[in-house]
């Protein structure tokens, strides 16, 4: 017992270091491995120690789970990673629900006296912990599944709103709490049906809670649900009085909450706004009036302008990811640089569909690190830039965020490409960005549209330069 718990302490320390190291670029990868080592230690020590009755189930469970996890993680495309994380996170929540349920079942089988033994906890304590594990874990499970469906496009990204939605959710939560009270205070006549009812309500709550949130906010939702799954693990730890579950779960719960807040800030949202704002649905109803017209340009036009430019800023967005245009873009950038042009890539923190999306794509295409610039470094010099090439970006260059107080994205920091001398926007057609808003940038006098798939457009530009 002593050695197991010492190993658990060591594992917890490894988790602490792991989380700390994940927070800075230079150490992140090592940090993840440190934390994996902690997990391995905790699992191995648990396997060696516990007076395990049914080895068969355990081996089967680990083999099946391990293989599925391995294959999923190896197969997934880079762009699919955020939704995969959502899925994993949901499974973590599910595991906490099931652990709570399994313990409840064991109490039912053995009776309280045998279950509690001469341990320190009383029935009420155990039941409260089971209730919390099931409640938090259940919401995490289905909430993450909905997030997964929305992010992967298997379900429409826009918020599903209906009247009385918040009231309904509140009522479901209330019902779950009341049933929880019944469970806890009738502790000695254990009602399995009540527990199952609670589980079902929580699963429903997870679905209904995430439905009204737009797909663009899913990364924040996942971060939040990640924090929840930590707390669910912690609650499960209180059920079985296991310190490493309590500590690791709570570490994730607390640090996940901080990360959620940080991510909200990067999108200029508040947490309340994300969960209850129904952001992205109301918007579409609004009539928007825009002056000017969208002026299409040909690839040759763009070629002549680029030929003459002294400085070019590329602003990639989600469309570059869709078109997988990063390699072509990098080629164009290299050609321009060869011509003596000052080339920069301006990366908006929430461009694409996951934080760091653009960084990953451009790194994949071997864009030199020196050419990458953050939004805050580019904005001050943008008015001296000859050409801004907007490659499948939309919301992150929408001047309404800076200028139109009535816009729902007003206040979100953007890359001020509209201040550049000439702006070329590459997109396929009239499609809106994630927020569904009209982008006034496209109607500005200094903006020209280059319609078509971004990869093809860039490729034609490259061949103009080469030919």
């Amino acid at each position: 017992m002593g050695i197991v718990n010492l190993a658990y302490i060591v594992a917890s320390i490894l988790f602490i270091f792991g989380i700390k190291m994940l927070g800075s670029a230079a150490t992140a990868r090592r940090g993840n491995r440190v934390s994996a080592l902690g997990m391995l230690l905790a699992v191995v020590v648990t396997l060696l120690d516990k007076s395990i009755l049914s080895w068969g189930w355990i081996i089967a469970g680990i083999v099946v789970g391990g293989l599925v996890g391995l294959v999923a993680a190896k197969r997934v495309q880079m762009t699919g990673m955020p939704e995969l994380v959502a899925l994993f996170n949901g499974l973590g929540g599910l595991a906490s629900v099931l652990v709570g349920w399994a313990e409840f079942d064991r109490i039912n089988e053995t009776g309280w006296e045998a279950y509690l033994g001469d341990g320190p906890a009383g029935p009420t304590f155990i039941l409260v912990a089971i209730f919390l594990a099931v409640l938090i874990g259940g919401i995490t499970f289905t909430g993450s599944l909905v997030a997964y469906l929305k992010l992967s496009g298997k379900m429409g990204g826009s918020p599903t709103l209906f009247p009385g939605q918040k009231l309904l959710n509140a009522l479901i939560l209330l019902a779950a709490l009341v049933l929880g009270g019944v469970l806890i205070f009738n502790g000695l006549q254990l009602a399995g049906g009540v527990l199952i009812a609670i589980i079902l309500l929580c699963l429903l709550l997870g679905v209904l809670g995430v439905l009204p949130i737009g797909g663009g906010d899913m990364p924040v939702v996942i971060a939040f649900l990640n924090s929840c799954s930590g707390l669910a693990a912690s609650a499960a730890g209180f059920v079985i009085l296991n310190n490493v579950l309590i500590v690791a779960g709570c570490l994730v719960g607390a640090s996940g909450l901080i990360l959620t807040v940080i991510m909200c800030k990067a999108m200029n949202r508040t947490l309340g706004n994300v969960f209850f704002g129904g952001f992205g649905a109301a918007v579409k109803g609004k009539a928007q009036q825009v002056e000017g017209e969208m002026k299409a340009a040909s690839v040759e036009d763009a070629y002549y302008v680029l030929e003459a430019a002294q400085s070019v800023v590329f602003v990639p967005g989600y469309g570059m990811a869709v078109a997988q245009a990063q390699h072509a873009v990098k080629e164009l950038a290299a050609i321009l640089e060869g011509n003596g042009v000052d080339v920069k890539f301006a990366i908006h923190p929430v461009a694409g569909r996951m934080p760091g999306h653009m960084n990953v794509l451009l790194a994949e295409a071997d864009v030199p690190y020196e050419q990458l610039a953050e939004m805050d470094d580019v904005n001050p010099i943008i008015s001296t830039v000859d050409v801004a090439m907007v490659i499948g970006a939309n919301d992150v260059v929408n001047p309404a965020a800076a200028e139109d107080e009535s816009s729902p994205i007003y206040g979100m920091p953007i890359i001020n490409v509209h201040e550049a001398r000439t702006v070329y926007c590459l997109k396929r057609g009239q499609g809106a960005g994630f927020s569904g808003l009209v982008n006034t940038l496209f109607f500005r006098p200094n903006t020209r549209m280059l319609y078509g798939d971004a990869k093809e457009t860039i490729a034609s530009l490259v061949s103009e330069f080469k030919g």
């Binding site: 994993f88 399994a102 990364p219 730890g237 490493v244 996951m354």
Partner: protein, 92 residues
């Protein structure tokens, strides 16, 4: 006393968790989320204990599913985080 100490541990871990994350560059948000999600797969330890101690075949079955879910979370979570981080250059 032991219960109190477990609660104490929970409280200290919460404060520590809050302090650990300060400023994170935005391209690390996803890996950090993914990496700490893998840690929350620590329920795997709970699932092993619950499965190992199960008293009914129904209990074993639930435990088994818990273990499968938690193991996917752990194994997949660490691997996918590692892949994500591998995509960043040293300086990126």
């Amino acid at each position: 006393m032991e219960i109190i100490l477990l609660i104490f541990i929970f409280v200290l871990a919460a404060f520590l968790g809050f302090e650990l994350i300060q400023k994170v560059p935005s391209q690390l948000h996803t890996p950090l989320m993914s990496g700490s999600n893998a840690i929350s797969g620590i329920t795997m330890v709970g699932a092993i204990i619950a499965t190992g101690a199960a008293e009914s075949s129904f209990g074993s079955l639930i435990g088994f599913f818990a273990l499968v879910a938690a193991t996917i979370n752990v194994v997949g979570g660490y691997l996918v985080t590692d892949r994500m981080l591998a995509m960043f250059r040293k300086k990126g």
